[in-house]
Symmetry: C2
Subunit: 342 residues, 2 copies
């Protein structure tokens, strides 16, 4: 019953060593076998000077040009972070990769590589697993990163755990702790789209399609992270838990208050339409919804903002017993974001 | 229902931001809360010049002194790789860390850092989660590595996904593909102990204690990896699937045959005792049992072996249609190791 793990991903060539089936992707994972699946996942991964050793050995080797590496990990669990009846397998792979890749961007770094731990039931269609990892590879490529290795194990439900690496190109990392009173608060990327899409899916709606798709997989503004770092950002965070919650992380780490201006927050047309249909205030989604992976950053007052960023507030002195984040000068009374085990 | 993940681990200080409970470790994860657990896990992590940015931001920053980084990941699933009634939480943490740390050693590298994805049910005792990650930190420290970040999510069962980084100190990585006919095959570390321990536990035995403990957590010879690299190893693999299976990985990647000499394989006293009690050949455990994470390496003929390695065979020319691995000149007909979804 207790299985053993491979040291790392074997190459496609190793799938021929007789230790497993070599059938196609029409059957289940049990038909395809562990090494067969690994062969499918790593099939056609291009060689790259940035990855001296790719999949197929005990570990991969990745270039870390400036002598440091940024690292983060995120785990997605079926039934908790995604549902197989709501998302395509490629959506799940893209979403899993995006969560980690956005964290790399939020440090001001460019993603270089990722590894994935993939757990799944033996009766999962092999095509699902292959499509999921293809989505993961596609999302990684969109951020400039390569899939360099992983682990495949049996599990009662699908679990996708992605670790991403990033390169700071000689710059200091942009932390949560560097915001100073007087700084400008700026945002790159969408907010509330994923939460609105979840609300739609929960009521069995499939449109507006752009919102449903935004929940299935985010579109983080990866390039904005390094641009913010080059542009002098004093702090940055990716909005994964919700704007209020993540602005609170900057406030707590920097010892400041973040004052948001709701009129500066863009509420896109699809959000307005969905909110009207549900008779809710779209600001609840924009301020409390997570998983869009926008980038929230602070810049010195008067600094020219990098492309993609818009001003959404300012940094103020912290006030004892006062809220860490305000909206139009007041504490926010709506939902602030999701917490696990809460 | 669909939860959102934190970007990365928050510091203990961030557990005070009001987003979760701050209760002790007596209750469940639901009582402690996500950020409370993260605070416990990262509590007291020492600052290190090798880790410019540790837990508490969107991502960590780790020094990669020689401009490259070795990376590998392993996922352990409750009921599949461990049972909570057989292993202490610290055992599970140590085992999860060891699987990845041994892969780093098998590249000839020294582990520097690891991140962990931790999934668990909300009703898991918080003390279990804290003890598990403490075991993980302890195992990492024994290999010279630091826990630098992670993700905590809700899951139907405990899932521990560890990604480890390593430093090659300017040396080329030791791959599986470098073995040449005439090379000496050498082994560092124990074989068969974990498999024997599993056999004992499966029959409700709790002794010999050393074997049961060997199944609960391995003791990989981490230092032997970089020593082998410095000593001119031509190929190396960590024995996670079983000696026959992992020697087969070297044979396949190098295009050679690995000829093992069973008389050179140490069968320790506890293995002899357990095998006698079960009336089995202990060689089945030594050749087919995985999870001990010994290091199997090849060296040029006549090379002085690094400390900890003993000769167990030689590399031969591959033989068409012949076995990739032989034991005393013959194909091995016993179990060769575990394969997932097999």
């Amino acid at each position: 019953m207790l299985g053993r793990r491979p040291g790392g991903w074997k190459t496609a060539a190793m799938a021929q060593d007789g230790t497993s089936g070599t059938s196609g992707a029409n059957g289940t994972l049990a038909d395809l076998g562990e090494f067969g699946l690994i062969g499918r996942i790593t099939d056609g991964l291009p060689p790259s000077p940035a990855v001296p050793v790719g999949p197929g050995d005990d570990a991969a080797v990745v270039v870390a040009a400036d002598g440091r590496v940024v690292i983060t990990c995120d785990m997605l669990v079926e039934g908790r972070h995604f549902r197989r009846d709501w998302s395509t397998p490629a959506d799940v792979g893209r979403k899993a990769a995006a969560a980690s890749l956005a964290d790399i961007a939020a440090m001001g770094a460019t993603a270089t590589a990722l590894v994935v731990g993939f757990g799944a039931p033996a009766d999962l269609p092999a095509a699902w697993a292959v499509a999921c990892t293809a989505g993961l590879r596609e999302e990684a490529a969109s951020a400039g990163a390569a899939l360099v290795g992983g682990d495949v194990v049996e599990a009662p439900q699908v679990v996708v755990s992605v670790t991403a690496l990033g390169d700071l190109a000689g710059r200091p990392p942009v932390l949560r702790s560097g915001a100073r009173p007087g700084d400008t608060v700026a945002l790159a990327g969408r907010l509330g789209w994923s939460a609105a899409g979840l609300a739609l899916l929960s009521r069995a709606f499939r449109s507006p399609r752009v919102l449903v798709e935004a929940h299935r997989f985010p579109q983080p503004p990866y390039a904005a992270g390094p641009l913010a770092a080059s542009g002098g950002a004093t702090s940055m965070v990716d909005v994964s838990d919700g704007l209020i919650a993540d602005a609170g992380h900057i406030a707590a780490a920097s010892g400041v208050r973040v004052a948001l201006d709701s009129s500066a927050l863009e509420v896109g047309e699809p959000l307005m339409a969905a909110a009207a249909a549900f008779n809710v205030d779209p600001l609840v989604w924009v301020l409390g919804g997570g998983e869009d992976h926008a980038l929230l950053a602070t810049f010195p007052a008067g600094a020219a903002l990098p492309e993609g960023f818009v001003v959404v507030g300012r940094v103020e002195e912290a006030v004892a017993d006062g809220p860490a984040v305000t909206v139009d000068g007041n504490a926010w009374s709506g939902p602030a974001g999701h917490v696990h085990f809460g």
